[in-house]
Symmetry: C2
Subunit: 172 residues, 2 copies
DNA sequence: AAGGTAAGTCAACAGGTGATTACTTGGATA
DNA sequence: TATCCAAGTAATCACCTGTTGACTTACCTT
């Protein structure tokens, strides 16, 4: 349901009300309970849509790093304007949303990226990379820090590429 | 007010109710309006307490990086059990909380760290470092990813040190 | 045409929210 | 002692929340 995705992305799980979602979708709030059981059920359905990292498969390390940096800067749009990580961050105040986020988004993405990385500590490397991406989202979307604005994209990308390369380089 | 800090940290701004805060503090909810004007006023007062990066001043780069990595892993406790970044992340669903976070926490911390770093693009470097720290908080606290659990602290610290060093090294 | 089933609507619920108001108390000042 | 002011309390306001149950509508099958 597109309206739910948009609303969850705009305000996070807690602040998004079923009434607003339903009215944006042009339907009745009662339908949410009917079809998804509850609000958290709707959230679960929305978060099924994971970021797909398959396009990164087989890329040599420098290009993979560059692609990851683009994701961190919001330049890649793998899910058509819907950013599950933004939803996850904005929803992190809710305890019940956290469970959904961990099972539907967090651990699956770590596993997915770890498989692409391979080698020693690949889970931890993937976790750190995804943390860097998440952190950039926090800085740009939530905190809206001046230093991370799009004006400095080129400098930021260079920094991110260096950081991610340092994490992923296998020389240890 | 200690109870407010604890409650905001536990649930974020939106989900924390003035009634719960007041009852935890053993006082009347009306006192919040009286002394802080409103709930957001209380939040503003709580977020005044910024992370103090002064202890990092004058440290050579390798030690500064290590200290920052410790902060990212939650090993440093510069504000006595109160973690403004956790509050910021968990509160990022609320629009009004965002303003407070940006002005009281985000930009001040960037400036503070940028001053310690110096050199070209110090604002961006500081922003990326703080993003990495924030991201690790997201991964460990909100998403609670297995790969980032305390079991792997030594491997994680090594990765973080490499990443941060790559960001902060002046050779460019 | 009749019956059944799914889709959708509407009003109401019980509970929780932040904020305001009028009121009582306690201690200091003059 | 009488007065005043700040501190704290209790009740209440108007609003919003997710969810439920009874009801109407439309369509499809027999």
């Amino acid at each position: 349901m597109g309206a739910a995705r948009a609303e969850f992305q705009r305000t996070g799980y807690e602040a998004a009300s079923t009434r607003k979602i339903a009215s944006a979708a042009g339907c009745n709030p009662a339908l949410i309970s009917r079809y998804y059981g509850s609000k958290i059920g709707l959230f679960e359905a929305v978060m099924e849509e994971c970021i797909d990292l398959a396009p990164l498969q087989g890329l040599p390390l420098p290009e993979m790093v560059e692609a990851l940096a683009d994701i961190a800067l919001g330049k890649a749009d793998p899910t058509g304007g819907f950013d599950p990580l933004v939803v996850a961050i904005k929803s992190s105040g809710s305890v019940e949303a956290q469970d959904v986020i961990r099972t539907k988004l967090g651990n699956p993405m770590v596993k997915q990226l770890a498989a692409l990385i391979g080698g020693n500590n690949s889970d931890q490397k993937a976790g750190v990379i995804l943390s860097i991406i998440s952190g950039m989202f926090v800085g740009r979307v939530s905190v809206d820090a001046e230093a991370l604005s799009a004006d400095h994209d080129s400098a930021l990308k260079e920094l991110l590429v260096h950081a991610m390369t340092a994490v992923l380089s296998p020389d240890r």
